[in-house]
Amino acid sequence: MSDAVSLRLSHVQAWYGDSQALFGVGFAVRPGEVTCLVGRNGAGKTTILRAIMGLLPRQTGSIVLSGREASGMRPYERTRFGIGYCPEERAIFSSLTVEENLDLPPAVRAADMAKDEIFALFPNLRTRGRHYGDQLSGGEQQMLAIARILRTGAQTLLLDEPTEGLAPVIVRQIEHALIELKRRGYTILLVEQNLDFVLHLADRVVAIENGVVVDDLETRGGEHVKSRLLERLAL
């Protein structure tokens, strides 16, 4: 079914060892849309992203990427569907230079972003090409982590708290980059804590609580959405 979704989860359950983290999660992400996962710490947001990539030790349920059932596939096979994952811990390879980090991912789509375009989006990286991953600042690492998945030609980006723990000026840069990526038509599934930014950027918000979806709503409602979310999440 090649309908108009980039990504669809149904009845996804996941476990870490004996403890269950997801209890039947289901939602869909439409192409070109920015969808935001919100919820308290430990609600299962990161686990959902990891489940989409197939990085969990044990999971069940269906994950459809670009109309193809992907559950049971290995993570590297899933990237062929134009999906890129930027983990919370950034996971920059410290033994690789910035250039090597950018050249590492195989281009899975023709639409892979050229390095010049990357440097236009993240100017800080331009002069850092020969530096090793562990010589970068936190903000630069975050930019590199996002840039790295753009190099694969991924059209659907899974971003886990891209602004966490960064200086306000860097946060603004990354927010601008995300707005630019949205403008260019990328599909984004974002985990983000800053509700104001979420409501500014996202088309839809999916609220997660205790491993299930508790709310799924469009952001066009403005202030009403915010108060409903605040109430829902008891923030």
């Binding site: 060892g17 410290s94 033994s95 090597e100 590492l104």
Partner: protein
């Protein structure tokens, strides 16, 4: 004298070339797959065999053989990785270690059974038969060729890893395979390719070595341990460092050979101990980015106070009487020597089981302790004419002392490194016994007198020895059990599960670990001393590292971290050896296959599997009874 030294230095360069090719591959595999590849020596040996077989059966020339051998070995490596090793990823590195140990036994044992241990000749091409006379030094052409080929290959691999895209894929996957895969890197293929590369390098080394050393199934067995020591000395994370260390150590080794021949076989291991004391991360090692440590959570630990799994009451009148009755009845049914061997091996396996299962310390050098106790007890009883209790005491004390020394080095690193260190020290001990005169070399110390225990009990009577070994086994098993459930044991378990936490709570972690090592050494000593008395024999096989492997095997078969596991494991192993003896030379290969199967199928050990099965059966039994009961009531009511 100078000529002699220079001559030995050329040998050093040649050996350094083999060490470099082997340690490079071993380090790549270790870095990416997190597996200490025990088959690496066998891959080297297979390279030599492939070159020999190519020339013998396919009529290949020397150069064709130099290509043919690495390709064959790489193909074998890919098959091994894809079919077996793959199944241990995500598990504790211990399992990969044991799986490759078993696989190495299969290949080496198989080839040994087929070809025997004598070397097969393999000729170098004629134009490499001359030599290069530098005036002060004569360098045989073939050796020069070996050094040149090895250096070129090593530098190519080094540059490729540091500066090509494929190299960056390898480095990225070594650092964080999951992230690399999430970025689209086909990690399974990278794993297979890396293992193939390491195997090919080992195969090339073997093919190069074939004309110098003869082609023999055992040629890789000792070089592997030297290469382990080199990797520890060089430190992980630096490919250049590994290559440099290989040559430097080979030169040191050959220099020692020229000056102090007796020390040559263990100088590398001694050097390793010094490096560990002064610079635990190795000469070129950078601070560990990714620690190759055991993750306690992945091993099937049994809870310390095993109240649920173990039989509730092991003391008291009825169980004691039952045990005595069983022990009295067994010698009537089974051959007493066979039973006594099981008892000795149970003690030995319990020593390893205690160390790994409860202290989280991986020792692959237990044979050195076992053998030391056996030799010393035999020597004390035979040459000093000490009574058995004193001879046993001497043996145990020696094992304890050696164990504490070994422990001082071993506890400086963790996990796989620990295994390598203990193995290397044990190998050093082995070489000492090979050369010492009191051990009588290959013959061993024979017809050890048993004497009168405490001047009262005549141990020449087999029944008395039988009861003595049974008492020793029960004493060790229950003693360890008591210890594990003591505050000291709890502390060990706490350190095993989270060393940093224990450290931050102010506990002297090193002292606890050393004490655990000492206790295990004591037990291994009891096993060794008892074996000297029981079999009236102490030989080199008691110190050989294969015996350390058997300790691991028994503990694994029985179930690591269980109370009765060592007994089950020892019984299985001894019975297997007993019944496989008709197969003669194939026994090593069969034992290796059993080892592999155990890792793949019964990772948790037979005992936990059996207990789980029994529990299931009981439950089914119970449910069927409750299902039947109401009908029975009705029948009666009617």
């Amino acid at each position: 004298m100078m000529d002699l030294i220079l001559g030995y230095l050329t040998i050093g360069l040649v050996n350094g070339s083999f060490y470099a090719l082997l340690s490079l591959g071993l380090a790549l595999i270790f870095g990416l797959l997190n597996i200490l590849n025990m088959t690496h020596g066998v891959l080297y040996m297979m390279g030599a065999f492939a070159a020999w077989a190519g020339s013998r059966y396919l009529g290949l020339g020397y150069f064709a053989g130099l290509v043919f051998a690495p390709v064959c070995v790489a193909a074998f490596g890919v098959i091994l990785e894809r079919s077996l090793l793959r199944r241990t990823y995500g598990l504790d590195p211990l399992y990969g270690f044991m799986l490759t140990f078993g696989a190495a036994m299969v290949v080496q044992g198989g080839l040994q059974a087929h070809f025997g241990s004598t070397g097969l000749p393999y000729a170098a091409p004629d134009w490499l038969s001359g030599g290069l006379d530098l005036g002060f030094l004569y360098f045989p052409a073939y050796r020069l060729w070996v050094v040149a080929v090895a250096l070129v290959i090593c530098v190519i691999v080094w540059v490729a890893i540091a500066h090509t895209r494929l190299g960056s894929v390898l480095r990225a996957s070594s650092e964080n395979a999951a992230t690399a895969e999430a970025l689209g890197v086909g990690v399974p293929r990278v794993f297979a390719a890396t293992f193939a590369l390491g195997a090919a390098l080992a195969g090339l080394a073997g093919a190069l070595a074939a004309p110098i050393y003869q082609v023999s199934p055992l040629m890789g067995s000792d070089i592997l341990l030297v290469v382990f020591a080199i990797i520890v000395i060089g430190g992980m994370g630096s490919i250049g460092g590994t290559i440099v260390s290989s040559y430097v150590l080979a030169l040191i080794e050959s220099l020692t050979q020229a000056l102090v021949p007796q020390a040559a076989s263990f100088i590398v291991f001694a050097f390793m101990c010094v490096v560990l004391l002064l610079r635990p991360q190795g000469l070129f090692g950078i601070s560990v980015i990714r620690s190759h440590e055991f993750l306690a959570a992945r091993l099937p630990w049994i809870e310390p106070a095993d109240k649920e799994t173990a039989p509730k009451r092991l003391t008291g009148l009825v169980p004691t009487l039952a045990a005595v009755a069983a022990l009295s009845a067994l010698p009537m049914l089974l051959y007493p020597v066979y039973l006594m061997k099981i008892f000795c091996f149970t003690i030995f396996a319990a020593s390893f089981n205690f160390l790994l299962g409860f202290a989280g310390i991986m020792s692959f050098g237990q044979a050195a302790l076992f053998g030391t106790a056996a030799y010393l007890t035999a020597h004390a009883a035979r040459e000093w004419a000490l009574p058995p209790e004193a001879a046993i005491g001497v043996g145990i004390a020696a094992a304890l002392a050696l164990g504490l020394v070994m422990g001082i080095f071993a506890i400086r690193r963790r996990g796989i490194y620990q295994a390598m260190i203990t193995l290397a020290i044990a190998q050093m001990v082995y070489f000492v016994y090979v050369q010492a005169s009191f051990t009588h070399g290959e013959d061993g110390i024979q017809s050890v007198p048993r004497g009168m225990l405490l001047g009262l009990i005549d141990l020449r009577n087999d029944t008395n020895v039988y009861w003595l070994s049974a008492a020793a086994m029960l004493g060790v098993l229950f003693g360890l059990r008591r210890l594990i459930n003591s505050p000291f044991g709890m502390m060990l378990i706490a350190i095993r599960d989270n060393e940093r936490r224990a450290l931050s709570l102010g506990h002297n972690v090193d002292a606890y670990k050393l004490a655990a090592f000492g206790i295990a050494a004591f037990c291994a000593g009891v096993a060794g001393s008892m074996s000297a008395i029981v079999f009236q024999l102490a030989t080199l096989s008691g110190v050989h590292w294969h015996l350390s492997g058997e300790a691991v095997l028994m503990a694994l078969i029985g179930g690591i971290g269980t109370f009765g596991g060592p007994l089950v494991g020892a019984a299985v192993l001894v019975t297997m050896q007993h019944f496989l003896s008709p197969f003669g030379a194939w026994i090593v290969a069969i034992q290796g296959a059993v080892f592999v199967l155990c890792v793949l199928l019964f990772r948790d050990g037979l005992l936990p599997h059996a207990l789980a099965l029994a529990a299931n059966l009981r439950r089914q039994d119970a449910t069927s009874k409750t299902a039947v009961a109401p009908q029975a009531m009705e029948a009666i009511g009617r």
